[in-house]
């Protein structure tokens, strides 16, 4: 397409109208003398409606609008990992170099370094037929992450020439018979999903090391989860903990409309964090998008798409990727704000009528797939929603729940009691439950699913009993119910509660999760046995081993101590009368 220039007609906040353009929908244009990055979001008569990713103060009618002839694309190639971007894939540290501590306007920086040389090792040779998405060579991007250089998803052919050695991402490393020259870098329009061959069923759990999640409400690899929660429910800490501990290869963190200080915290913390599996900095396998709440709203809208596009790129290499979007409500609000500036007819609560469709489009880009090349990769999405006033009936939460399969209901009452993670065990659910059961009984313990159901039943009963206790007090309950209350309290305090700040407790392997729950259930069985023998409840509840059990989870090498406690428990119950 011919690249032309138009003129600004009207400016109202981040929305600009221009005349004399030929660009298509979602094409990138540069607005004004300063060349502010913008996107075409509507065409009306002879006017193009443009959303500007930067502040428009000072832009006048009549200033030029330059076309680029292409939509907003992400730059994909070696060098993405460890990067910190804003919503339109501009490197924030490079922006600091370019414009100082405050972000000024009209700056363009590449998503990846175009000057750095990478050592390219080919895996195909002259004369080979190559298919879309096929690996033609590799680059050691980080010590432990091999970056596959793949054929673009829309290219096939026969290799005429393939190079080996050190190249920048722009230099040609491969020539096809038809004359196509391929560099390492690929450009992909962020609003379009990258293709894969088959989407697979979610049958493998994503290990997070969080007892309440792995044990009760597990997420499958390639699954989607929503964390709703009013403010102050520990949502952000939760998401950061997940990024740290989940067993995925790549973490994409999109801070969408969140706090600057929190992002600063994340940006300082990530490089210091050591990956528990590899002893390498976690940052080496992370990509962070930080578009804080005070940065331009249109870039916030784009950040989710830019994030998922980079996630898809690494999935295509056969990696397991986790994307956390914090928060999709802020994203929806950006849509609402832009929609209202466009004077579109509002839907529910002022959100645009296409809110549900956009959310679905985004979450559908998750999944465990067979890539074009035939390897297996996955993207799991954890999206935070921040319902206003903690009201789950609002449109963003409702539309999200219709799509996501796991719901971790963060509860501010639990936060107030300093119970973390503050996931409410009665309201949360995971629709992957049944699909994952075979994996757990095969790989952790045949009793895993049974124990889980037993614990859930106890907690259910506990909730009913607590209502009665609220009315009559616990002393008025029959003895067996008092015991149930105590066992539920143990499950809640010794097992569900987990400190993200305790060096050991922050991560709990499957085996330990199982052993701890098994120990609590063992206590329950022996306690009810004793009760049947006629032992009074206050004697049962006074067993010292019960309190000893509370501290086992804080030990790294917990097994000897647990064995000791269990033995002690058994002897205490035996001698009880």
């Amino acid at each position: 397409m011919e690249v032309g220039t138009g003129k600004v007609h009207r400016i109202a906040g981040p929305v600009v109208q221009a005349t004399g353009l030929k660009s298509h929908m979602y094409d990138l244009v540069l607005v004004g003398e300063e060349g502010l990055m913008s996107e075409i979001i509507g065409i009306a008569g002879d006017k193009h409606i443009i959303q500007v990713y930067e502040d428009t103060a000072g832009v006048k009618p009549g200033e030029p609008v330059k076309e680029t002839g292409a939509p907003l694309v992400a730059q994909l190639g070696p060098g993405i990992l460890t990067s910190i971007y804003d919503g339109i894939q501009r490197s924030l540290p490079q922006l600091v170099e370019a414009s100082g501590n405050f972000i000024s306007r009209g700056l363009f920086v590449d998503g990846i370094d175009h000057k750095k040389k990478w050592e390219f090792t080919p895996v195909v040779k002259k004369g080979d037929k190559v298919e879309p998405g096929q690996t033609i060579g590799t680059v050691q991007e980080q010590l432990l992450i091999k970056h596959k250089i793949m054929m673009p998803p829309d290219k096939r052919g026969t290799i005429k020439e393939i190079k080996s050695g050190n190249f920048t991402v722009e230099e040609t490393i491969c020539v096809l018979e038809d004359g196509t020259e391929l560099p390492m870098i690929q450009y992909w329009p962020v609003r379009r999903a990258r293709p894969s061959r088959i989407k697979q069923a979610p049958t493998i759990p994503l290990r997070t090391g969080q007892r309440v999640i792995d044990g009760f409400f597990s997420l499958a690899k390639g699954g989607t989860a929503a964390i709703p929660g009013g403010f102050g429910t520990g949502k952000t800490v939760m998401q950061q903990t997940l990024s740290k501990w989940s067993d995925v290869d790549i973490v994409v963190y999109v801070g969408c409309g969140e706090r600057g200080n929190e992002m600063a915290d994340l940006l300082h913390e990530f490089p210091e964090l050591v990956d528990p599996r590899t002893d390498r900095p976690l940052m080496e396998r992370s990509i962070v998008y930080a578009n804080t709440s005070n940065m331009p709203v249109a870039a916030r809208e784009a950040s989710i798409y830019t994030g998922i596009t980079t996630a898809e790129y690494y999935r295509d290499m056969g990696y397991d990727v986790m994307m956390t979007a914090d928060s999709t409500s802020r994203w929806a609000e950006a849509m609402r704000e832009l929609s209202s500036r466009l004077e579109e007819m509002p839907g529910e609560e002022g959100y645009p009528a296409y809110l549900g469709a956009r959310l679905a489009d985004f979450y559908e880009r998750s999944g465990r797939v067979t890539t074009l090349e035939g390897t297996e990769g996955s993207i799991s999405i954890v999206g935070a929603v921040s319902p206003p006033g903690g009201d789950f009936t609002e449109p963003v939460t409702q539309n999200t729940l219709r799509i996501t399969k796991v719901f971790w209901a963060l509860d501010s009452k639990l936060t107030q009691r300093r119970h973390f993670p503050s996931i409410n065990w009665l309201d949360s659910y995971s629709l992957y439950d049944l699909a994952l059961e075979p994996w757990f009984s095969e790989n952790v313990s045949p009793d895993w699913n049974k124990n889980k159901r037993r614990a859930m039943e106890i907690l259910q009963e506990n909730a009913e009993l607590e209502e009665i206790v609220m009315l009559v007090g616990s002393d008025a309950l029959p003895e067996d119910q008092q015991l149930t209350l105590e066992v539920a309290r143990m499950i809640i305090n010794f097992w569900l509660a987990q400190s993200a700040f305790h060096p050991v407790d922050t991560f709990c392997p499957y085996k330990k999760q199982f052993d701890l729950l098994e120990a609590i259930l063992a206590f329950r069985d022996q306690a009810f046995g004793a009760l049947a023998r006629g032992v009074p409840t206050d004697v049962i509840l006074g067993t010292p081993s019960k309190d000893a059990l509370a501290k086992v989870r804080l030990l790294e090498d917990y097994e000897p101590e647990l064995k000791k406690v269990l033995a002690q428990m058994e002897s205490e119950f035996k001698t009880m009368s």
Binding site: H9, R10, I11, A12, D55, T56, A57, G58, V59, K60, P61, G62, I84, L92, L95, V96, G100, N101, F102, I103, S104, F231, G232, G255, R259, G260, N261, M263, A264, D265, L267, E269, A290, T292, S293, N294, R330, E333, E337, S340, E343, P346, E349, G350, S386, P388, G389, T415, Q416, R417, R418, V469, M470, V472, G473, S474, D475, N493, F501, A550
Partner: protein
Amino acid sequence: MTKEYKTINEIKGPLLFVEKTEPVGYNELVEIRTEKGEMKRGQVLDTSNEIVVVQVFEGTGGLGKESSVKFTGDVIKMPLSPDIVGRVLSGSGQPKDGGPPIVPDVEREIAGAAINPAAREKPRAFIQTGISTIDGTNTLVRGQKLPIFSGAGLPHNDVALQIARQAKALGEAESFAVVFCAMGITNEEAQNFMADFERTGALERAVIFLNLADDPAVERLLTPRLGLTTAEYLAFDLDMHVLVIYTDMTNYCEAMRQMGAAREEVPGRRGYPGYMYTDLAIQYERAGIITGKKGSITQFPILTMPGDDITHPIPDLSGYITEGQLIISRELHRKGIYPPIDIRPSLSRLMNSGIGAGHTREDHRAVSDQLYAYYAEGCDLRGLVAIVGKEALSERDRLVLEFADAFEQKFVNQGRDEDRSIFDTLDIGWNLLQALPETMLTRIDDHLIKKYHPRYRKKE
């Protein structure tokens, strides 16, 4: 060369619609002269070849079709110099203390560019406010924005003043300034603030912006921007630690709603504009610390929740941006407890980075969690006691209930001039926990109990 136009087509509320102009920039500063020669200032909200919409800060009273409009070709700027400290200015930045106009060293755009997240330093320096419910359980750190959510008739102003008076970093003397922005508060409230600033000598290191209840509402939209631009200058040019107090954010948001209605925008929740979140974020996010700079900006916005409703859009959206909140409780206030901060819904999100060994004391987190847990449980039990009476409680529950009462009297309650050190605060906490058997202290590691529990400490 800037021209004057007499082409006002329409005046509606605070808005002017001007026709047939040369190209005018978005957000440009506008000077308007009434027929009588009175000067007003405004800002461009919408510009196109056909019509330019201007919002007038001082109100459109006195304007007519014959008034002339001048577009300055520049956005609004705040004149700044070190002499600004100690001054009292109006809500739109004009001297209000009878002093001379500010001779600027620099002029800064008041819109304020976003701090690059990669240039931000993680806030971690503990600020001691001398108030136990803040220091002990909702610790403030430098660079944080921690709003006070209050209701009509509660002593939030006293709390804010006490913080302004007592706030200090442990063991350092550094240059320190207060920027105070009043938005739509009554003359009486303003006088109280001023009297306290004078009594304590704080005025000498303060910059005060006063937009009172009878000043134009549109001017309120400028006030925090002027205040924060000043704060950024003091913090990042003059290396000062700046505490920004603004009251009352509710009035600011009302002004925003008023403007939105005048512009016939599609309203969002309860009639507030859809961009309120972004607008509030732009103000609140101007708190923080920048890598390599000595100064910092800490914000204390005060907002009164209409009808004590925390789900109202103003506190709700604020809560999503700020790093926690302090909630002033009507119930505690009625009990005669000062400061009536209810710690249960209160939260400081940056607490963890500012406490513990090296900042305050190693037992801080554990003690705070334990206090929280039993105070929350005790408050829940009060509901039960109301139904079944104290006698029906178990021994454990009775202890927890008594703990909650003692907690309010000894820990929460303190004098308006009482400046407790963090160590005093923690020790008060320990003394309260002493009333509970040691096995109940499940949130505290054994070695901390051995080291700090009064029972063991007496033996030393």
